[in-house]
């Protein structure tokens, strides 16, 4: 058995993929982090204080997890959904009644979205109350506020897609608020809806925003957000003495 393990881990194929040995010593534990694209945003060593559960409650990581799970379930939903006034609603009904695990898939995406909004808001409160926005992290706070607004935008644009009474009137109420803003308000509303009221043009635009533009924005800004956490010396918990 150990012979087999050794043969595999010393084969050229294995070694072409993992460029470090078994991580049971400081060097290989460092190399795990620096030579792996999924780990490389982490530092090689972390301060014990920043790992305290009652400091972060893991909220930032949870937001990333929920975003990834929403991306996954969202892509699966795209296989069953056409953003047209004629087909959107019947697609959802068919997904729920005829597709195996279709209802579960939609439930995961719906509740995941609500959870993500909640987790992102709580993450912001955590960062504020621990004073983690203070210099040198000012701009990362600004990026975080942008991510909160994008999260709300992602959830709001997704709300219209089932094209039922709930979505239609929620978006009608929501976008009418934008219309109250002087000068820019009516323009913003016109760009968002593509017409005087919620219809096919609005559905097309909300769909494009929901599956492409906003997720790309979140992915990009999240990358910068996490990168800056590293560049600014890790979590602010390290500063406390």
């Amino acid at each position: 058995m150990s012979n087999l393990v050794q043969t595999i881990t010393q084969s050229r194929i294995w070694r072409s993929f993992f460029r470090h040995g078994w991580p049971d010593n400081p060097l290989d534990r460092s190399l795990v982090m620096t030579s792996n694209i999924f780990f490389h945003l982490h530092p090689v060593k972390v301060n014990r204080k920043s790992l305290r559960a009652t400091y972060t409650f893991g909220l930032g990581v949870m937001a990333v997890i929920l975003f990834l799970e929403l991306t996954l379930t969202g892509m699966l939903l795209m296989f069953y959904y056409a953003p047209t006034v004629e087909r959107a609603y019947t697609n959802i009904v068919a997904l729920q009644t005829q597709t195996p695990y279709g209802q579960l898939l939609r439930n995961l995406h719906r509740w995941g979205a609500h959870l993500m909004v909640l987790v992102v808001v709580l993450h912001m409160a955590r960062v504020f109350y621990t004073g983690a926005y203070k210099p040198p992290r000012e701009f990362n706070w600004v990026l975080g506020v942008g991510l909160l607004l994008l999260t709300l935008g992602a959830s709001f644009t997704g709300y219209l897609l089932p094209w039922d009474q709930l979505s239609f009137w929620a978006i009608t109420v929501g976008t009418s608020v934008a219309g109250y803003a002087p000068v820019l308000g009516s323009t913003a509303k016109a760009y968002l809806l593509g017409g005087p009221e919620v219809g096919q043009e609005a559905l097309t635009r909300f769909y494009a925003l929901h599956v492409m533009l906003i997720p790309l924005g979140i992915a990009l800004i999240t990358s910068v957000h996490i990168w800056r956490v590293r560049k600014d010396g890790g979590l602010a918990a390290n500063d406390d003495r």
Binding site: V46, L51, V61, W111, A125, W141, Q165, L166, D239
Partner: protein, 255 residues
């Protein structure tokens, strides 16, 4: 090799051509007195913690999805309004605000101020001291708690009073619309925000304590308005107890 200084800081070995120094820029820097001794290797601890979080979040989400179905009503019908017509829950605070003043004030001016204030927080409070600890100090914790209690009392009182004696209705035709719909609600809101700051001013607060007050007021008020709009508004957007809604309306059907 002759020009190596004989007394080299940090290095006992005379053969070394380098020294270990720490450059401190804009003191107090974060790593002074924080040697590497309080750190652990991120692998595997952090990787395992992240795996654990992934599994927990997924388990909670899966349990919710197995027990509660996402709502789906009749197909969208522009000719038939639902009653009540509500925005998604996270915008219900905004929709609740619309009940208490002119839309431009409540849905545009105040939210814009709140977003700008939120963005400005790190530039208002730019002291490096006091980060990385919940509420920064015992005094900070007290300030946050008192402000939260204040907001929990004042905001529901404002909603209830304004709902029972709405100046927009009572003063219609008596004073110009601008006074009844914008000036009066705006002044009340401003007074609610300024009052705790006046109390705080007597104890010479620092910038952190000022933003603690303002953010807590904003955060708790947002929760109060969101919950009021989401849970306590029924048909006709009237106030009801959530468990006593007419026509069998259930606020949670709107999620």
């Amino acid at each position: 090799m002759t020009n190596i200084p004989t007394r080299t800081p940090f290095s006992k070995s005379s053969g070394k051509t380098y020294t270990l120094v720490e450059l401190v820029h804009r003191a107090p820097a974060q790593m002074i007195d924080h040697g590497p001794e309080n750190t652990v290797f991120a692998f595997p601890v952090v990787a395992l913690l992240e795996l654990l979080l992934t599994l927990s979040v997924s388990a909670v989400l899966l349990f919710m999805s197995l027990t509660i179905n996402a709502p789906l009503e009749e197909i969208a019908n522009p000719n038939q309004t639902t009653d009540p017509a509500k925005a998604p829950w996270y915008f219900m605070g905004l929709q609740e605000m619309l009940e208490h003043g002119h839309p431009t004030l409540m849905a545009v001016v105040i939210p814009t101020i709140l977003v700008l204030f939120t963005l400005a927080i790190p530039y208002i409070d730019n002291d490096r001291q006091g980060s990385g600890r919940w509420f920064t100090s015992e005094r900070g914790k007290r300030i946050a708690r008192n402000t939260a209690i204040y907001a929990l009392l004042v905001m529901p009182a404002f909603i209830l009073l304004d709902n029972s004696f709405p100046p927009r209705e009572l003063l219609r035709g008596v004073v110009p619309d601008f006074v009844a719909q914008t000036l009066i609600p705006g002044t009340i809101m401003a007074a609610i925000v300024i009052a705790p700051l006046l109390v705080l001013r007597r104890s010479k607060p620092n910038a952190r304590e000022v933003v603690l007050t303002l953010f807590t007021l904003m955060f708790v008020s947002a929760i109060v308005f969101t919950l009021t709009g989401f849970l306590f508004r029924g048909p006709g957007f009237e106030l009801y107890w959530p468990w006593n809604m007419p026509d069998g309306y259930n606020p949670f059907m709107n999620l």
